[in-house]
C-alpha cells in the first residue's frame, strides 16, 4: 500500500521536502514505519522525541496503518 507522510518543523528540514510517499506492506505498524524512516534518515534518531500522528491523533507503536490514513511525523512540539 502507498502512504503519504506529512512532515513538519525539523523533520521537513531533515528529509528535505514537505511530504514523503512510501510503499509499504499492508498492515505496517507505526513502529515499523518509524524504524524504516530512522534507517533512511539517521538524523531523525537525534531528536528528543518523534511521534506519529494518524488522523489527527497521536498513534501507539502497534497501531496498523491504512492506505487512507492521514499520517504525519511529529517532532518535539514547542508551541506557546
Amino acid at each position: 500500500m502507498k502512504l503519504t507522510i506529512a512532515l513538519f518543523g525539523i523533520t521537513r528540514d531533515i528529509v528535505g521536502r514537505p511530504a514523503l510517499e512510501l510503499t509499504v506492506p499492508a498492515g505496517q505498524s507505526v513502529q515499523q514505519l518509524l524504524a524504516e524512516l530512522h534507517q533512511s534518515f539517521p538524523a531523525l534518531g537525534q531528536l528528543r522525541s518523534l511521534a506519529v500522528a494518524v488522523n489527527n491523533e497521536y498513534a501507539q507503536p502497534e497501531t496498523e496503518l491504512q492506505e487512507r490514513d492521514e499520517i504525519a511525523l511529529i517532532p518535539p512540539v514547542s508551541g506557546g
Binding site: 513538519f8 500522528a53 517532532p75 512540539v77 514547542s78 508551541g79 506557546g80
Partner: protein, 138 residues
Amino acid sequence: MLIELTDRPIDVAAVLQAVQADGAGAVNSFIGTIRNRSTGRRVVRLHYEAYDQMAVHQLRKVAEQAVAKWPMLQQVAVVHRKGTLEIGDVAVVVAVSTPHRAESFAACQYIIDTLKEVVPIWKKEEYEDGTVWVAAHP
C-alpha cells in the same frame, strides 16, 4: 468555546470578551509573548509553524479536558498565532471564566501547560547568525 489558530495578530480584548459569562466571578488569562533572549542568545524574531488541522483538533481536546476537570468552567478561549512574529508580539492567549478565582487559575495553567506538551505547533528561533528549531534536540 473559542478555539482558533491564526496567522493574523491576536486581538487580546476580543479573546477576553469571548469568555464573558453572567455566571462568572473570575476571568483568568495567560498571554504568551515573544522574548528577545533564549539560552543566552539574542533572538531577532520567531517563526511558528503548525499542523493546522491536528493543532485545532488537539487545542479543542485540551479545552474539553479542562471542562471535564473543572465542570464549573463557564467559557474557555484559546487562540494561537502562527507565521513570523516579532519581539513583543502575542503568540498565544488562553482565557477562562469560572464562578470563583481558584479554579480559574488552575484551569488556565492546565490549558497552557498541556498545550505546550501536545499541540503540534513548532517554533524556530531566528538569531543574528542562524536559526534553531526550539527543543528539537536533547
